[in-house]
Symmetry: C2
Subunit: 124 residues, 2 copies
């Protein structure tokens, strides 16, 4: 039993959740290759839609995501990864989660603070 | 500041998380109309891709999702809703979460138990 890659042109959303805190960290997309690499290596792999290539999350920063558990939804067209986030932050901006802005009327309020400085981690 | 509906043909994934337990309940899709209805009513609305219509989650079962907080990700192309799930179960199968099957090798192991009987709730 595996995800249904006949749907969504073979590109399924994968929700990444911190196994410890329960915080939702990010959403990315998996094709069959990313799924298989994730199972084989125990590290989250995705398909980068912007770069059109297989993407080991953390390949540049070292902040990989160690797989603890994987769940499929009732339609098998969405994947939920429970992970240990190496480095403590999933977002390339340095925040723990990509969802670090809360909707407050017409504004977005930042929540939390940076765990790392992206300029140092990505050596821009 | 709102989601970037110029992306993904105006249909953005929305992750629904239980505000109390932190459990990830489901993923569905929002267009601008669903987004606006959600903000106006405080209840989660989505765009049903299978039925091609606006969908108030729980419109048939009564198991609506009361919005507690909304977050946008760093790209503003994914939405995170923290909700109170009326009825205690988000999945149409009667489970608390649509992610009630854990990947275990080649198998899917059911996790948890049904909160309601779908045959009674949906009167099929």
């Amino acid at each position: 039993m595996e995800p249904d890659f006949t749907k969504n042109n073979g590109l399924l959303p994968a929700i990444v959740q911190d196994a410890g805190s329960g915080r939702v960290l990010m959403l990315a997309y998996m094709n069959r290759t990313a799924w298989e690499k994730t199972l084989q290596t125990g590290k989250a792999h995705f398909w980068s839609r912007s770069r059109q290539k297989l993407w080991l999350k953390g390949e540049q920063s070292g902040h990989v995501q160690i797989i603890r558990e994987i769940f499929l939804d009732c339609d098998r067209d969405t994947i939920l990864l429970k992970v240990e986030q190496v480095g403590g932050a999933a977002c390339h901006t340095g925040y723990r989660t990509c969802f670090h802005r809360r909707v407050a009327g017409d504004r977005l309020d930042p929540v939390g603070s940076r765990v790392f400085d992206p300029e140092k981690v990505y050596r821009k």
